[in-house]
Every structure is written in structure tokens, then in C-alpha cells.
Amino acid sequence: MKDELKYLMALAARGRYSRRAFLGKAAAAGITGMVANTMLAKAVRAAGPKKGGTLQMGLGGGESTNSLDPALAASQVPFLYLMTAGDRLTDMSPTGEVMPRMAEKIGSSADAKVWTFTLRKGMTFHDGAPVTADDVVKTMRRHSDENAKSGALGIMGGIESVNANGDDVVFTLKSANADFPALMSDYHLIIQPGGGVDKPDAGIFSGPYKIKSFEPGVRIELEKFADYWDDSRGHYDAIEMLVINDATARNAALQSGQVQLVNQVDPKVADLLKRAPGVTVNATAGRGHYVFIMRCNAAPFDNNDLRMALKLSIDREEMVQKILSGYGSVGNDFPINKAYPLFDASIPQRTYDPEKAADYYKKSGHDGSPIILRTADGAFPGAVDAAALFQQSAAKAGIPLEIKREPNDGYWSDVWNKQPFCASYWGGRPVQDQMYTTAYLSTADWNDTAFKDPHFDELIVQARGELDQAKRKSLYSEAGLLVRDTGGAIVPMFNDFINAYSDKVAGWEDNPNQDTMNGLAGVLCWEA
């Protein structure tokens, strides 16, 4: 490479030379835009983060009913402001490993039943009080209390007791769980002073930013917390989150420069948005997926041949192209994909096969009456269209589907988990165990497919306590196959998280755990 170009790249990386001008020079030197872009991204990372500035984010998924109480967080905007202002015991790396966060050391007993988290020294809360093991214990106890209505109650169910011992927090579990440190990265489990018992929504946490002003559903202002212990997080001086629930308005705000980063880009417009000057669209393969749920205990879905017939009569490739505009990947009828640690890539991919589907359909002895599939706009983006595609591909196999469109209002209370066949979605979980425990164990509240298999339950419990990773992988592989071949979930596709940001934002790193860099875009990115 020419020296001049190298020099300019270093300048551009530090924001002292315009990115577009650099790309122009690179093109003149015969380097394609894509290569030049990659080079620049590398140089930017190598140059290291720049401190200062304000990041404005335009975010979908916020309501005026949101609260600062981490226990109650359930939508995107609370997730993002909590991840920006709060800290958890552990963090998940982009590759799915557990990273120590507030706990600097994590140890377990040989049977994975007793877990000890040693707290880092010198951490303080936003009100100046030091973080103690007692705060952690109280936080965990609050989330275990049914009255707190915590979204993490399911996780806390496996804990028998939690106690402080100096700087150590000791968890004793009811049964062995090798994934326990991963569960501690849950965004509800943000450590609060005194566990947040007195005032759960006080908004005092220990993360790199503190809440400056909070108007739920409108605007959240955060400012840098000067006493944060980790210099590698929190590069902006301030972060402003604007709640923009209208997708078109969100994109316009990015294009007009009012915000520098947006979430939830509609796959249908992602390609158009890419063409806007100075805008980068990022698609990260995640673990969230869309499903058609057959309840295995309700006729006619209590017949595995019929379930197989339906699984074979859905055209997954077509769904990914038409519903996700290519921003996703095909599913394989179990809720795990390659974004999960310990995924077995050797499980064969199920494909659309109308002939085989017809055979299974005949074998099932179904009386030929139309099978009712319930769907709603709110089941997942494009759910009504997806049901129509399913109807057409199934018709080619001679299976009649009848689409019943339900109102969004009350869909989750009256249709999902009640009606025998409906459209739905699942967000990803940090580890396979949590996904299966939430929605596939016989005893799970949210076992929406009513899949009950004692052998499957055994496999999951065994894998949970297994510390040998190779053995775990094979156990999960077997469990996945069971769901794939005998379960009630039709998983046509895994959706990507799609974000877009302007050329004023540097340091983006794909993270499959959750949307918007696992909620950490604000604390890890910096001003270009």
C-alpha cells in the first residue's frame, strides 16, 4: 500500500480525515470500497477508542409505561438503558463464553452445585456508595421474591440459597448447573444498592453511565459515570436515547443526522437504507426465531406423523427470502442455531419436501378437514404473510391449512400457549439450557408446544450438570434431535438483529446474544 494512503487511513481512523475522502483516495489507488472499508475498520480499532462526544440513539420498543426497575424490564428500550447504566456479575462474549464482569473470579464445587463469585474491588454505585457482596445478595433475593414480579424469576428458581462471605457471593443451587455463570449475565440481574429493595426504580446502578433524566417512552439521558472502574467501557461523555417507535421516523432521524444509531431496522427497507450516504446497516445473526407452534397434546397435533407432515411442508428458504428479505437463516425445527455455544452443526437440515409431507399426511390418517392456523400481525413481523406462504406450500403437499387472523390485542393471553396451532416468536437465550428449560421441559410454564418427553427432560438435566464440554455437546445434540423429530415446534427461520449507524460511530462489534451489540453499543462504541 502506498505510504500516503496509510497515513490518510491513520488520520481517518482518528477522525481527523473524512472517511468518505479516504474511500475516494483508496478507490483512486485501485482499492475497492469494500476492502477499503474493512481496512479502515481495522485501523479504527487499532487506533483505539476516542473519548468524548454524545451518542444519540433512536430506538424502537419503548413505552410510557417503562420503569427503571430492572425486574420489570421486558422491551427493547428498557433493556438498552439498563445495560448502559447497570452492571451484572458476568457478561457474555460475542462467541458465547462467559466473561467476568463485576465478579473477577468465578469458581464452582466439583458437582457444579455451589458457585462462588468473588467481587472486584473498588467498584462504586452512582451515589458514591461502594459495591458490597451484601448488595449482590440482596439483589438476587429480591429477584427471587414473587412480589417483585421479576423477569428473572425463572432463573432464580434454581437457587436454593445465596449468601455473602467477605467479598464472595456464594450461591447454592437445588441441582447442578454448569451454565450458572451465564445465567448471571441476564439483564434483569443488574446489581442495585441494597438490592433495590427500598426503591426498586431509584435508577442507581454501578455501570459506566448514570441516569441523568428519565422520561419513559420519550427520552432517556445518560451521562458518563466518572468513577467507573473499567476504562475500556464508556467512551462517550453522554448518551441520549430517543424513543422512536415508528420505523420510518427512526430511519429518517438517522438519515437527517438527528441520531447516530438506530435499532430494529425493518428487513424490507434495510437494502434501501444502505444506499443512504454515510449510513452503515449491520445485520447480526442472532438466536431469536419465529415459530409455528403445534400443541402436542391437542388433536390433531397429538399425532407425530401429522406434525412431521407439517414440518416437511414449509418452505424455509422462501420464508427467509420473503419474510426476512434475506436477513436471517433457516431454522431446523429445534430452537438452537449456530449462534449458540455447543451447537451441533452435523444435525441434517430439514428441507421442503411436499412428496414426503404428503406421505406422512396420508399415514397420519387425518380426515382432510382444514387445519386451523392462528396468526396475528403482532405474533412476529410478517406473521400473517408467513402463514399465507405456509398455506401455499402445504397446499402443494395436499395439506389444507385455514388461516385464522386474530387481533393483536390479547394474542399472548388468549391464543398463544392455549390454541393448538399458532404463530409466535422466541428471543434468544445465552445458553441452550435456558432455552430448553424455559420452553421445552415438561414442567416449564411456557412449554407452548406441550412437548412432554421424560427422556428429553433427563437429557437436559444431565447436560445442565455436566462440566465436560464434549459430553455436554453430545447430550444437547441428542436433545435437539428429539425436539426436531418429535416436538411440536416448526422453526422456519432465525431472524437477524438489524441496526444502522452513521459514519460518526466507530467500534461496532457483532454480538449474537441480543440486539444492538447485546445492549452494549452505547458503552463499547465511540465517536469517529
Binding site: S64, N66, I244, D246, T248, S256, G410
Partner: protein
């Protein structure tokens, strides 16, 4: 002593307005009660135990007969106590106060621009009736009134915010902003709202004045040799005020209660978005309070229209 007919008429109108508001409050209460689903269940969620549900019902007084609950609610509302939000526990009156202030701010700014503009354009259209200024004004306002407001919003946003960057596309306002900053922030929604209400008011003004222009006294004025614009402004318009006031009030009411779509498109923190969020969460006290306020705004503006029409009518002001 005989009561002055204007006083009598106004008293009647006000009493009717109050009665209407009471009827609206019954409707709102009944409406929120017949929403499918149990309120206690909606608050506690699916995993609630039967005991917790029973406690919640008891605490909320859900076991009382409906009319008792209605009277309780109405009594509290009359004292300014609108209850507490079920979803985040904030005081409803306080939370709504802020949102309602924002809604009024947007509505007032839009009205201050739209009402005079509509009336002046109406006068001009009458003055040049059938000629190009009339056609131009009528055509443009008809077009803006016919386009759905969200589309108008997106077009304005694309042109003024994305393409030329004259005004922000996100109209979020907050306390620390100065008045100038706030006005800059709401420029685009104001433009859209003005365009939406302009046509209706302008056309009504034009039609009402044209109606009066047929009268004998206008002909007299013309024969006296008065300038056409003077005739319209001084002689015809005062007699056309009554229908114009009515349509102006309807549009003002729309500016307060009907702008949910514009609020969503421009992310403006007004009442509409607040109401929609809480309906989705079955937050009954907030929904009832919003309904009551919207109904009150509508009724007050309509009563005001009636009163102004009465006052503007010389036959009622000066009885024989």
C-alpha cells in the same frame, strides 16, 4: 323580571354541556369495564395465584357493584384525583398534566397559524371567486386535506428533514429546552397539522361568506361603491361568523384529541401516544382519565362555539 335571552340560552348550553360530560363519563366507565379480561389478571399477569387475584380484586374494590365503583371514580375525579397508573404507579393526574401540556402547546401553535391563515385565505378566495387565486387556494387546500396525515408527515419529513435538513424529524421536547428550541423542534408537526386543518376551515369560510354575499345589503354596499375586500371583511364576514366558528372549534378539538398519528410519526410526547401505550397495557385509570379529558375538551370547545355564535348574532343580542 325577564331574563335576557342571551343569558338564558347560554345557561342552557352550559347545562347541556355538563350533562353531556356526565353522559360521556358513564360511557367511558362502561367501555373500560366491558373490555375483555379481568383487570386484576391484567395487572398481575398470567402466573398470578388465585389468592393474589382475590386480594387484588378486594383492594381495588372490584367486588363492589359497578355503579358504586362508578360513583367512587367520578367523585375522586371531580376532586382532581384521577388515581394511580397500574403499570408504573405514577400519579395519573401528574403524568397526564405534562403530556396534556405538550398536546396543548402543539395544538395552540398550530391553531395560531392555521386559523388566521384559513380565514384570510377564505376571504381572498371570495374576493377573487372563480378566478385563479380562488382556484389555486381551493385546489391546494383540497389536496392537503385529502392526503392522509401520516403520508403528509412522511413527505414533509423527507423533504425538510432528510433532504434539506431545515428542521429536525424527531420532535421530542423536554423541560430544559428554551421556547425557541421547542418551536424549532415542533416545526414539522405544526406544518403538517396546519395543512390538515387549513382546507376544512378555509372552505367553510369561503362557503359561508359566499352565502351572505347574495344578500341585499351586500348589493347596497356594492352600489355605494365600497371596495370589494372591505365589503367582504366588514359587512359579509361578521354575518358568517357563526358557521365559521363552529368549524374552527371542530378543528381545534381535532388538534387536541385527534393527532395520535402525527404524534407517532414525529415522536411527539403528547396525550395520544400516552393513551395508546396504556390501552395496550390495560391501564384502566389512565385510559379513563384520558377519555374524560378528551371528552371534556370536545364538549368545552363545542359549547364555546355555541356561545360565540349566540353572541355574534345581533338578533339574539338585541331582542325586541
Amino acid at each position: 323580571m325577564a331574563v335576557h335571552p342571551v343569558v338564558k340560552l347560554m345557561t342552557q348550553r352550559l347545562a347541556l354541556g355538563l350533562l353531556l360530560l356526565l353522559a360521556a363519563s358513564v360511557l367511558i366507565f362502561v367501555g373500560t369495564q366491558i373490555l375483555p379480561g379481568d383487570v386484576a389478571q391484567a395487572i398481575l399477569g398470567q402466573s398470578a395465584t388465585p389468592q393474589a387475584l382475590a386480594n387484588m380484586r378486594e383492594a381495588m374494590g372490584l367486588n363492589d357493584p359497578a355503579y358504586v365503583r362508578y360513583l367512587h371514580w367520578l367523585g375522586a375525579a371531580l376532586h382532581g384525583d384521577l388515581g394511580q397508573s397500574l403499570t408504573n404507579g405514577e400519579d395519573v393526574a401528574e403524568a397526564i398534566g405534562k403530556r396534556f401540556g405538550n398536546t396543548l402547546f402543539l395544538a395552540v401553535v398550530a391553531a395560531v397559524i392555521a386559523v388566521p391563515t384559513a380565514i384570510i385565505l377564505g376571504l381572498i378566495a371570495v374576493r377573487y371567486q372563480g378566478r385563479w387565486p380562488d382556484r389555486l387556494i381551493s385546489g391546494v387546500t383540497l389536496a392537503t386535506v385529502s392526503v392522509p396525515e401520516f403520508l403528509l408527515g412522511y413527505v414533509v419529513m423527507f423533504l425538510l428533514a432528510v433532504k434539506y435538513r431545515l428542521a429536525p424529524s424527531v420532535s421530542t421536547i423536554y423541560d430544559t429546552m428554551s421556547l425557541g428550541e421547542k418551536l424549532h423542534a415542533i416545526a414539522l408537526p405544526v406544518i403538517v397539522l396546519v395543512l390538515v386543518v387549513l382546507g376544512h376551515m378555509m372552505r367553510m369560510t369561503r362557503a359561508a361568506i359566499l352565502n351572505v354575499m347574495q344578500s341585499a345589503y351586500v348589493e347596497t354596499a356594492e352600489l355605494k361603491g365600497l371596495r370589494p375586500f372591505l365589503i367582504i371583511a366588514r359587512h359579509a364576514f361578521p354575518n358568517a361568523i357563526s358557521p365559521v366558528v363552529n368549524v374552527v372549534m371542530i378543528n381545534l378539538a381535532y388538534l387536541v384529541v385527534g393527532v395520535v398519528v402525527v404524534e407517532v410519526v414525529f415522536v411527539y410526547p403528547g396525550m395520544g401516544q400516552y393513551l395508546v401505550d396504556h390501552v395496550a397495557k390495560r391501564d384502566v385509570p389512565v385510559v379513563q382519565a384520558c377519555g374524560l379529558i378528551f371528552a371534556a375538551v370536545y364538549i368545552i370547545l363545542n359549547v364555546a362555539a355555541d356561545v360565540i355564535s349566540i353572541l355574534a348574532n345581533p338578533r339574539l343580542r338585541h331582542p325586541k
